[in-house]
């Protein structure tokens, strides 16, 4: 198995002892099939037990390990060493406050997710005993892509608008609202729209599309945003120019 010595430059910051972040370099013998997370684990187990970062699944599904790798938002468990040169820089996700080392504060993101009413608001009441809401594979396909979000926040780290206007709901939260809006079982679009169409909702997005580019799950939040924006515009016209038309 081929082994390569990698210089892993890691951003370190301990709010109790450091006045500002600094970079620390570790020399790590890496197997070519490793991901950056394996290198971090090597450091943690063998070189420096004080390094802090989040991870769990090691299979790109829990969304814990988002970080900047050579300046790009990536999942550390899906960033293969073989795709990098011998020096790799690892920093916490951009646009989020650093708590410590590679650990950022994510409360704002969680609050935004929660704010869009991301749960089914059924079109019709139906008791459990009456069985499932029928949904054809075609209807499922309409929103399926937007269910794949692992809440890794890479899209927020890539979003120039979120960096400038922290109130912006952001790609994943809007994609999640869109997921429920597009679900044939759901009737809650109007309720969600109130949140989304507000100032910090979709209007902030300048369609750079960086979010969809970095998304490891191909959720295409930019596409969702665009659709939501169009729908909101139509709502606006209906309300203001054609008040006799029911939404």
């Amino acid at each position: 198995m081929s082994e390569r010595q990698i210089q892993l430059e890691v951003l370190r910051y301990n709010p109790e002892t450091d006045s500002e972040p600094r970079l620390q370099t570790y020399s790590v013998p890496c197997l070519n099939e490793w991901v950056v997370l394996d290198a971090l684990n090597y450091v943690k187990d063998n070189l420096d037990t004080t390094l802090s970062y989040r991870w769990s699944c090691h299979m790109a599904v829990c969304g814990s390990c988002g970080m900047m790798i050579n300046g790009e938002p990536k999942l550390a468990c899906k960033a293969f060493i073989r795709e990098y040169a011998d020096q790799i820089r690892v920093e916490p996700l951009a646009n989020f406050p650093i708590e410590r080392d590679l650990v950022t504060a994510v409360e704002d993101f969680i609050a935004k997710l929660a704010s869009v009413k991301p749960y089914l608001i059924p079109k019709e009441d139906k008791p459990i005993e009456a069985g499932e809401f029928k949904q054809t594979p075609t209807e499922l396909k309409k929103y399926k892509q937007y269910t794949l979000c692992i809440n890794c926040m890479l899209c927020y780290a890539a979003c120039p608008q979120y960096g400038l206007v922290p109130e912006f709901l952001g790609p994943a939260a809007i994609a999640l609202a869109h997921r429920y809006n597009q679900d044939s079982r759901d009737g809650g679009r109007d309720q969600r729209q109130e949140v989304i169409a507000s100032h910090e909702g979709v209007w902030e997005c300048s369609f750079v599309g960086a979010c969809s580019e970095v998304c490891p799950k191909h959720v295409d939040p930019a596409g969702a945003l665009q659709q939501v924006k169009i729908a909101s515009t139509i709502d606006w016209y209906k309300e203001h120019l054609m008040p006799w038309v029911k939404k």
Binding site: L51, C57, V61, S64, I150
Partner: protein, 586 residues
């Protein structure tokens, strides 16, 4: 120390914990619910489950078949009253998830689709492509956001239960962002903290599955049940342990050895079914324990394929074709290509058995209650037991839901029965002791042991002696050694003295929990002198119903290895019989 008062405190916000919290919030909007988790809920390992969740819904299936598959699959170590309850509740719970928006895969007519799974006589596994656990977890998390009474304490690490007056009245947990110890005072506590696969070096389990919840209960005097039963999943990627779901075989994937032979037919699971037309309950759709054991024998016979990562067999899915693989198993394809550089559309994938699931856990009854009043448990950390000596694939996700909800209902009934007022001073004193234990961990310096060193020794022991096949001699050695590791654990030094997000501390606490669980596994396995389900002894090769048709109960002892006791299995209608997975006789 900050004191947080709640009616019910839940430790763990995975599938089981979230289902519990929602059931409580729905049943009584006045209840104060504290949902405590060492990771944000959607990071919980339920997200990794791929295959699906079992529940009878189709007209060609029956409750009786699900019962027999589960009890036979569990080698008759399941409590049959609990299995009956579980099976009856299963479809309701899965339907409830449908009503909450879970994106289940569908039939063309819009009804929910089911797929075949190992050890099941009929198709009954509900699935959402091959990300079923992920979708279940996110549906539950998102639904939980509807209920303002569910107060979440994300990234709080539970350290000790508070037990006074013979009942559980809360717990202590460290707020990881600040390092502050917090006392949760609660009328009832429900543990939903997941499994402990990380005791082993090669596992499908995420880093968080370290048996913390089991250890919490165990140290508070609640026995751990059937810990010797550890499930290997037959198809893990050899370099990382990443799982390729049983759905691969359910959809028609086959297992072959180095000669291209479908070797399962040589281990009582034949005759060969036609390629691409899997026959239920035979060959590749046999139960996990049998398949993993067959691998071991093939390895001994020299029939395995040599790879850079050790001996493997091949999972061949090529005949399914690209379209079906993309539609039903997209995640499997992505994982194999990314992590092993093998595209299942083009090549067979090398795989080997990998530690997957703990059948054992906190001793609970059919009501999800532990013997300690005020303490309940559900999910992988609990052992009811509906899984017996070998869990059937896709029963676990359903179990989280059924017993998660049941734990909530039982806790409410317990609260309504009216407990006497708590002795606040006594609880505060206990919380103080918990705090002192952490402080002393920090204070130690010059310790001779390293955390990663001890952890590796434990993992190596477990792999060598508590794996697919075990011997009395090996297990006895492992018991002694793990007991020694428990002593040496006292000598580890924390190098990270910070209060903020101290993962050195968290890993130390996790290692402590794993050592306790590992000892319960090895001692239980040493004392069970028979072979049953996932527990196979080379020195006692037969099942011994005379002596061991019993659950083992491991009781914690601080200065000694656990004391093992036994409890009769509840048998209502199915007497122990032969586990038949040969298609020939059907």
């Amino acid at each position: 120390m900050e004191i947080i008062k709640a009616d019910v405190a839940i430790v763990g916000a995975g599938g089981a914990g979230l289902r519990t919290a929602i059931a409580l919030a729905e049943a009584d909007p006045k209840l104060r619910i504290a949902l405590i988790s060492k990771v944000y809920p959607m990071r919980s390992h339920t997200c990794a489950a791929e295959g699906g969740a079992a529940g009878v819904i189709k007209s060609d299936d029956s409750m009786t078949d699900h019962f027999n598959d589960t009890v036979g699959g569990g080698d008759w170590l399941c409590d049959q009253d609990a299995v009956d309850f579980f099976i009856a509740e299963a479809p309701k719970e899965l339907m409830q998830l449908e009503h909450w928006g879970c994106p289940w895969s569908r039939e063309p007519d819009g009804s929910v689709a089911v797929r075949p799974f190992g050890g099941m006589k009929n198709k009954r596994t509900w699935y959402a492509a091959d990300k079923s656990g992920f979708h279940i977890l996110h549906t539950l998390f998102q639904t939980s956001l509807k209920y303002p009474t569910i107060q979440r304490f994300d990234e709080y690490f539970a350290t000790d239960l508070l037990v006074d007056d013979g009942r559980c009245q809360g717990l202590t947990a460290i707020a990881m962002m600040t390092g502050q110890m917090t006392q949760f005072q609660a009328g009832a506590v429900i543990i939903t903290a997941g499994g402990a696969g990380r005791m082993f070096p090669f596992t499908t389990n995420g880093a968080i599955k370290t048996g913390d919840g089991m250890a919490l209960a165990y140290r508070a005097g609640v026995p751990l049940k059937d810990m010797e039963f550890v499930q290997y999943h037959p198809t893990g990627l050899p370099n990382t342990g990443i799982l390729l779901t049983e759905g691969c075989r359910g959809e028609g994937g086959i297992l072959v050895n180095k000669d291209g032979r479908r070797y399962l037919q040589d281990y009582g699971m034949g005759p060969e079914s036609p390629i691409g037309q899997p026959v239920l309950k035979t060959m590749e759709l046999g139960p996990r324990d049998r398949l993993s054991q067959a691998f071991w024998h093939e390895q001994r016979k020299g029939n395995t394929v040599q790879t850079r990562w050790g001996d493997c067999v091949l999972l061949d899915m090529r005949h399914l074709g690209e379209k079906k693989i993309n539609e039903r198993l997209p995640f499997v394809r992505d994982l194999s290509i990314s992590y092993l550089s093998v595209d299942p559309v083009k090549d067979p994938v090398p795989i080997r058995p990998v530690v997957h699931y703990m059948m054992g856990g906190i001793h609970t009854d059919i009501n999800a209650a532990t013997p300690l009043p005020g303490l309940f448990a559900a999910g992988e950390c609990a052992c009811v037991s509906i899984n017996g000596a070998n869990r059937l694939g896709s029963n676990s996700l359903t179990e989280l839901l059924v017993f998660g909800r049941q734990a909530a209902l039982s806790a409410m009934a317990y609260l309504e029965s009216g407990a006497s007022p708590s002795n606040d001073a006594a609880l505060a004193a206990q919380a103080g002791e918990a705090q002192a234990r952490i402080t002393s961990l920090f204070a130690k310096s010059g310790g001779a042991e390293t955390l990663s060193g001890l952890r590796k020794e434990m993992m190596d022991l477990m792999e060598e002696h508590a794996g697919i096949y075990r011997t009395g001699e090996g297990l006895a050695a492992a018991c002694d050694k793990i007991f020694e590791l428990r002593q040496r654990y006292a000598d580890i030094e924390l190098h990270d003295k910070s209060n903020v997000y101290n993962t050195d501390l968290v890993q130390a606490l996790e290692l402590g929990a794993m050592l306790d669980c590992a000892e319960a596994v090895t001692v239980g396995a040493r004392d069970r002198k028979e072979s049953r389900g996932a527990h196979q002894r080379l020195d006692f090769t037969e099942r011994d119903d005379q002596t061991y048709l019993k659950h083992s109960l491991a009781y914690y002892q601080p200065k000694e290895p656990p004391h093992i006791d036994y409890l009769d299995v509840v048998i209502t209608k199915s007497q122990p019989g032969v586990r038949d997975y040969s298609g020939a006789k059907k």
